[in-house]
Structures are given as C-alpha cells and as structure tokens.
C-alpha cells in the first residue's frame, strides 16, 4: 500500500517536471524551425531542413530534459515520500536519495543511522507492549477465575457443612449404640438370638467405620476447598497484606497435589517461629505454585519411574527476612541456559506446554515489588534449589 503510494508520488513528480522541461526545451528549437521555414515567405526548398530540425528537437529534448531533471527533483520527491511514510509510522528499511553527491549522501547516512536507532526503539517498545498486554489478559483471567472459584467454594461449603455435621453426629451416636450392644450380649447358648446379636454387632462396627471414613473424606474436601478459596481470593493484588507463609505453602501443596502425587514425595521443613510476612499475597501464591510445578516437571523429565523424586520445601527466619527454599531432585538446569531462565518467554518446553513466564514474573515480583532476592543452584541430573529471600516488612522507601 504505502510503497505503492511512494512510487506513484515519485512518478507523479517526475512527470510534472518532465512536462515543463519538454515545453521549455522544445519551444526554442521550434521557434528556430518556424523561422527557418519562413513564416512569411515560404520557400519549398527549406522544408526538409525544418523537418529534420523538428525531428531532432522532439527526439533529443525529452532525453535531455530527463537527464537534467533526474537529479534534484527526484531526490526531493523521494525525501518527501520517505518522510510521509515515517510520519505514518512506517519505517523504511533504509532510505536511498541519490547515488553520490557528498552533502546529500552525508544527510542520507545520518538519516539511516537515525532510522536504525528508531527501529530498535520501536521493536523494544512493541515487545514490551506485547508483554504488558499478555499480563493484563492473564490478570483479567485470574480475576474471573478467582471470582468463580470463590462463588463455587461458597456453594460447596454449605452442603459440606450439612454432610460434616451429620456424619459427626452419626458416628458419635453409632459409637454409643455399639457400646450398648457390646454390653448386652444375649444370655444362653449359641442360638438364633446369638447369631442376630453378632450380625448387629458386626454391622454396627462396619457402619461406624464407614461414617468415620466419610468424616475424614469430608475433611479432605473441606481442606481442598479452603485452599482453593484462599488461593482464588486474589484480594487486591495492588496492596500488600500480612500473610502466613507456612500456611500458604501447605495450601499450594494441596491445590497442586494432583500434579505431583505420582511423581514426587514432598517433604516440608517449615520454621514454626516465622512471623506474618508483609507481601503481595497473590504474587507469592502464584510463585509458590509455579516453583512446585517446575520442580515436579524437572523430576518427571528425569524419567525414573521406579523411583519417586523428592521436593523439599523449607522456611527459615534469617534476620529481618524469611528464606524460602524449594529443592528438587530433577534434571537440573543446563549451564548453557542458566542465565536465561528468568527472561520473559524463555522456555525449554514444547509449544503449548509452557509460557516461559512464571520465573520472569516471580523474579520481577520478588526483586521489584518486595525488595527481596531470588536465585538458584543447580547440578546436572542431581537437582535444583530455588531460594527466595523475602523481607518481613517491605521497605517504605520507593
């Protein structure tokens, strides 16, 4: 579209100038010709000369005009076209005004330098923009999922309350009844009454344990729903809250349980004495989930199905900060990519498997939003340890 416009502009300009030149250059010889032909006293023998001259004039002058005019105006027209393109936000590869000429080629070179720099800037801005867009979409999606999850949790919790109360009641009463039955065996020898009593006793034992198992299962569901709810409650992601880090770790393990249960055994070593941490809770929750999922994948990639791997998570109070470590026995991070894993969009996973965003996001949040540190240590085929040092209080300075 645009290059077509530029070309047609150049063509248009050239045609206009070409016409003027034609007129100018043709007028003089034409007059001479007319004079030679003798406007007043026509002499027939002069006509061939006049014809020759006319032919020469109209044959040569266009070529002459073209040569003279090809320099200056074409350059001006091109320049104008380039500038117009650039104003429309379309940066040409490079500009070409003339073949030589010192002043002009100096201008040309400078402009090309500016162009190159501009193009670099534009590329940076647009890739940052793309990142931002994606982040916005993600935040939007998370918010929608959060609202949904919160609503679902509420809906589930009401019937769960009913189930929980009833099973607690049932198993308590069954225990009492069982005690009663135990205490009152039918007297006399083994007969039908005795068999009925035994049947009642055995059945009661089964039903009691069924009720107790139901109770345990309900408690598990309740735990999952609570974890989901607390994870989904993004709160105001723009404000820092005081968060129980150890509890959050346990919740992250609960909601990721299905991902790692066949791959690793999880060991936790959480310091009981750590105070609440002032942080952007949704960032930390998301980051913890990502670290656990990454560790799980790293172990799975080792492909040793006969041995489960291990993920160890620990917290420790270190001065005015908490040090959190996530250690895995996975494939490790190859030396060659160690300096890139925190880059946005860096991923070694197949298309559709990973976004390469998790570590970039976490790094940016820990360093920029929390004033903390994040680093890792990795041994090929031994495993990786990610360490986060999170200040208890976010510093008030900007």
């Amino acid at each position: 579209m645009r290059s077509f416009t530029r070309r047609s502009l150049i063509a248009q300009g050239a045609v206009v100038h070409f016409r003027i030149a034609l007129v100018l250059i043709s007028v003089i010889p034409a007059l001479v010709t007319l004079y030679l032909a003798g406007a007043t006293s026509v002499s027939l023998d002069r006509i061939p000369y006049a014809g020759l001259l006319l032919a020469l004039t109209y044959g040569v002058s266009p070529a002459l005009g073209y040569v003279i005019l090809s320099r200056y105006p074409r350059m001006a027209v091109r320049l104008r076209a380039y500038l117009q393109d650039m104003l429309h936000g379309e940066l040409p590869e490079r500009i070409a005004l003339v073949k030589s000429e010192d002043d002009l080629s100096a201008i040309e070179n400078s402009m090309n330098l500016i162009l190159r720099k501009l193009k670099g800037d534009v590329a940076t801005v647009s890739s940052a923009n793309a990142l931002l867009q994606e982040e916005l979409v993600r935040v939007d999606k998370l918010r929608a999922i959060g609202t949904l999850a919160g609503g679902i949790a509420h809906e589930i919790n009401t019937p769960l309350q009913i189930i929980r109360s009833h099973t607690e009641f049932t198993s308590a009463v069954l225990c009492q009844v069982l005690e009663l039955v135990d205490q009152s065996p039918p007297g006399g020898a083994a007969g039908p009454a005795d068999r009925r009593w035994r049947w009642a006793q055995n059945t009661l034992i089964d039903v009691t344990s069924a009720a107790q198992e139901t109770e345990a299962a309900v408690e598990r569901v309740a735990g999952i729903v609570t974890a989901m709810q607390s994870f989904a409650s993004h709160g105001k992601s723009g404000t820092a809250v005081r968060m129980d880090l150890n509890a959050t770790i346990m919740q992250a393990l609960t909601i990721t349980h299905n991902e790692w249960k066949h791959v690793v055994n999880v060991e936790t070593d959480l310091a009981p004495d750590i105070p609440l941490v002032e942080c952007y809770a949704s960032d930390i929750k998301q980051g913890l989930t990502d670290l656990i999922l990454n560790a799980t994948r790293a172990v799975a990639e080792r492909g040793d199905r006969s041995h489960k791997g291990v993920i160890q998570i620990s917290t420790q109070l270190t001065g005015a900060a908490v040090t959190l470590q996530v250690r895995d026995t996975g494939v490790g991070i190859p030396q060659a990519i160690q300096n890139r894993i925190f880059d946005p969009f860096f991923t070694t996973r197949e298309v559709g498997q990973g976004q390469g965003q998790a570590l970039a996001r976490l790094h940016s949040s820990i360093v920029n939003r929390h004033g903390g540190r994040i680093f890792f240590d990795s041994q090929n085929n031994q495993g990786t340890t990610f360490t986060i040092v999170l200040p208890l209080q976010r510093s008030t300075s900007p």
Binding site: G150, A153, H154, N157, I162, R164, H166, F169
Partner: protein, 138 residues
Amino acid sequence: MRSSRACQILLVDDCPLILTCLRTGLRFKEAEWTLTFAEHPKRAIELVLRNHFDVVISDVGLPDMNGVELVQTIATISPVTACLLMSGTEPGAEGFPIDGAFRVLRKPFGLDELVREVDGAVVRHRRNVPEEAHCERL
C-alpha cells in the same frame, strides 16, 4: 443464678438444612444449651428484642441484610449477647465486610469447633461486659 440456667443460643441461617443438622448434631449439649432457630434476620431481631440470648451465631449470606449487619444490630440492641459469625465465604470477599469485633466460624466447621467457639465467646463477653449489664437486663 446464671450458672444454673441453660445457655440461650440463637442460630441464624437462611438454609433450613443447616439449622436442622446443627439441631441434631448439638443434641448432646441439650442439658447445657437451649437452641432457638431463625431463618430470616428480621425474625432474629424480633427474637432478640423479646428474649434473652447469651449467644447469637449467624450465617453471613442472608436475605435483606448480611450477617455482619445483623450481629452489629444485635450487639447494639442487646449488649449482653455475644455474637459469632459462620460462613462458607472468606472474610473480605464480596458481601462479607470484615468486622474484627466478631469471630468467624468457617464452614464446614466441626461440632466440637462450634462448642469451643461458643464457650470462648461466653467467657470473653462476661469479661468485657460488666456483670451489672447482665443484671440490668435480667
């Protein structure tokens, strides 16, 4: 004598099945607690205006007014009553304003948890609201 009287407890929830399961589940406290039930906050306020309650336990998501508003109202019209909230929603979520004055039982809670919270609320409330207030009321 207060100690010889059964503890008067009002349970408020718009879901009747919740009230039923608590009624059955708390049967083992029959000797110490007298339970009253309300499905609507207006009914709860009526009951509090006409009767003495030691404890009110209210759900948060209720028709017409939320449970937090309900217990705030009850706390003003009956200072001797200790109030607790119960909810399947996280405090701070939509429709659940946080009021630090009231403890929250997160559904699904165990019956023993409920008993502990009620006992604790009664003790705390006695300490905070002077005995004269109780006498005045009685």
